[in-house]
Subunit: 246 residues, 2 copies
């Protein structure tokens, strides 16, 4: 029997309407829909996003991906998830895995897909791209993320302020993902460089409870949720859009 | 009368199914659909992508954005486009502007929207995020773009090989957009750093005529089209996914 296909489907950043037509089509065609399990028995974020799109006859599969750094625990969780998915695939059933944001952009799906293919070399994986958080944030802020010859740097989290400073020395636009744990230190760096006025924080971009903080001069401290993104325009937009000469 | 709204709608990178549900809804609701004019009287790329979604009663508006660097010509074209759009908005009609890729990511829409708001301060602009080319490319290549603590740098074009070398010194993943004109020089840099095997070229990601070049050792020279993207994984994926210690 031909095995089923594991589809990694980008479901966007929060608003259920930010899934693509292709993503929705493949999501609704699959007999099994998987997603990362939530914490404290609450539905996970991807599950919340797609819940309105699922049909009663679709089976759901909640996969456990622990939020830990221990490589051994992670590998064991990925292997268990891959085994659960393979149970369906080997019976010829497709599995659609719902990924918050874009499936190629810091996604849990990557570990599931790579582990699956290591354990079962005949497994077939397809992915559907989608809306990632920097794009959702820029639309929410009503500013362009990048224009013309601007360079864009995306850092998943700041482990080194030295690296941030290096990046600010040459990059035009910088996005820091999951900035909550280092916000105070980053704020100091932005103040030193006079960048607080051209920086924004977006929490839960495109969700109904989305929050935006502009002009960070007023916010030396913020209690931010996990999905908080900091956008820094190192060059002023208006200034560089039109050359001052004319 | 309340003016209409200018919607900047991300239509994805080529495959018409890569538009979001929200983008399609707003595109089809607008009485007027605008897009950048094509060259040589051929339809433009965004127009080609959305043509199948438009209804007979929708009016189309082709706006001229010249491919030049002359700031004066550009400004004049943006102002003319803004004036054309405003003719509809001031009559209370919404205008949906179709943008290839994501509307905040190196998009012509930015210039139109900013010029419109400079000329007509009462103009209202909304944007819908979408699939940008690096995400479409990663899905096409079936590799993750970024995982874990990887940094991602996106350069719109290389004007300085020195900058590329600086970036390769510290970044984990590098994407070069519109690489066609500098491919030979970039190839040399990648060879010096032994990165040709972990680099890919994608032309026209998600279009039916999409082309992928893997293992660039074989391609010191390539005649590439304008929408060619180079993806460089400076760290090997498999190596870093699972720690070699266990």
């Amino acid at each position: 029997m031909q095995p089923g296909i594991l589809y990694g489907i980008s479901v966007g950043t929060g608003d259920p309407e930010l899934i693509t037509l292709k993503g929705l089509r493949l999501l609704q065609q699959a007999p099994v829909v998987a997603f990362p399990a939530g914490v404290d028995k609450k539905p996970g974020i991807a599950q919340q996003i797609v819940s309105g799109w699922l049909k009663p006859e679709q089976q759901t599969l909640s996969l456990h991906f622990p939020y830990v750094r221990d490589e051994r625990l992670l590998l064991s969780a990925w292997q268990e998830a891959a085994r659960q998915v393979w149970q369906y695939l080997q019976q010829g059933q497709d599995v659609a895995f719902a990924c918050e944001g874009d499936v190629s952009f810091f996604s849990t799906f990557t570990y599931l897909a790579q582990t699956l293919q290591q354990l079962y070399s005949e497994a077939i994986v397809e992915t559907v791209p989608g809306v990632c958080s920097p794009m959702a944030a820029a639309s929410a802020l009503k500013i362009p993320l990048t224009i013309r010859d601007r360079s864009l740097v995306i850092l998943p989290a700041i482990y080194s302020l030295k690296e941030l400073k290096t990046v600010l020395d040459w990059a035009d636009v910088v996005v820091l993902l999951k900035v909550s744990s280092v916000y105070r230190q980053v704020w100091q760096v932005l103040r030193e460089r006079n960048l607080l006025q051209s920086s924004w924080i977006i929490e839960r971009a495109s969700f109904p409870d989305q929050v935006i903080y502009s002009n960070l001069n007023h916010y030396p401290q913020l209690k931010l949720s996990y999905f908080s993104l900091l956008l820094i325009q190192v060059i002023d937009n208006q200034q560089s859009m039109i050359n001052a000469d004319f």
